[in-house]
């Protein structure tokens, strides 16, 4: 079981909500692994996490673009590397669950999320705060929109 750490908060509501949801989905996966890991359930939990992460990345990238954040390219590369790797993991797991080291996956996910939120996400916060009115307006549209397209 992992807990949301308030130190990870960015102060941008739509993003903090997403991050908390990602932690919640990670907890669901951890629970399945601790319960002795039924491959079907684990596959669902991984898929749910991947789908939500994809939606979240899109929302974050849209907000970065709106406020003219200069580190966007680098940040998107981080997102893409994660998404690509997780997509591959999901694929291998569906072919033959034994090919994936699931215990390693939960450590990896927790570390990656914490690290990414604490460092990479933190970096865009000042820029978004400068454009807070714009961000607030755009956030209304982004909430509950998982397939946002620019």
């Amino acid at each position: 079981m992992i807990y949301w750490d308030p130190k990870l908060e960015t102060g941008i509501a739509v993003i903090d909500e997403d991050h908390k949801t990602l932690f919640g989905l990670l907890n669901a996966l951890l629970r399945i692994i601790d319960d002795g890991e039924k491959a079907d359930d684990a596959a669902l939990a991984i898929a749910a996490l991947n789908d939500y992460a994809t939606g979240h990345f899109k929302r974050e990238e849209a907000l970065m673009l709106l406020c003219g954040y200069p580190g966007q390219d680098r940040h998107e590369r981080d997102h893409n590397a994660f998404r690509q790797g997780m997509k591959s993991l999901q694929h291998l797991f569906s072919i033959n669950a034994g090919m994936v080291n699931l215990r390693g996956v939960s450590d990896f996910l927790l570390n990656w999320l914490q690290q990414h939120i604490a460092v990479s996400d933190r970096a865009y916060v000042p820029k978004m705060q400068e454009s807070s009115a714009l961000i607030a307006k755009a956030s209304e549209n982004l909430i509950s929109c998982t397939s946002f397209d620019l």
């Binding site: 690509q84 790797g85 033959n96 994936v100 390693g104």
Partner: protein
Amino acid sequence: MISWNETLSTGIDVIDDDHKFLISLINQFAELAEHCEDLAQISIAVGALNEYVLNHFRREEILMMVCTYSERRQHQREHKAFTDIVDSLQQLYRLRPRLVNLREVAIFLSDWLNSHIAVSDQGYVAQMRAHKSLVDTVSTNLRDDVNFRFDEPDHLRVS
């Protein structure tokens, strides 16, 4: 470990040579998966396997096409499923090597290759024998050039 034996033979030299080489690459990978801690060496082995597999499938698909083998599309789909798996393996290994259970992967890939050669590849043998001289001529070209490119007509492309 896969060992070459006559039941795996197709009697088409260019293909048998490919299969023997593929088996040696996959055995090497299985060996590394067992003992090796050197991540770079494992990446190189997977990369080599991936590249050779792609070239081999291409050669096989060209020969299936020239001899108008009827199960060709299904066969290509099997190839695609395999290269997708190797692709995912490489991607995941790149993200974090520890997430890959190499031994299981080696077993899976060996089993797949073994049964593909023993069963699916046997499927085209009769048709290729029936077109032996054409297959021989094309084989010579394929042998000379590992990167032999063949632009397939759109209507025959498998997606």
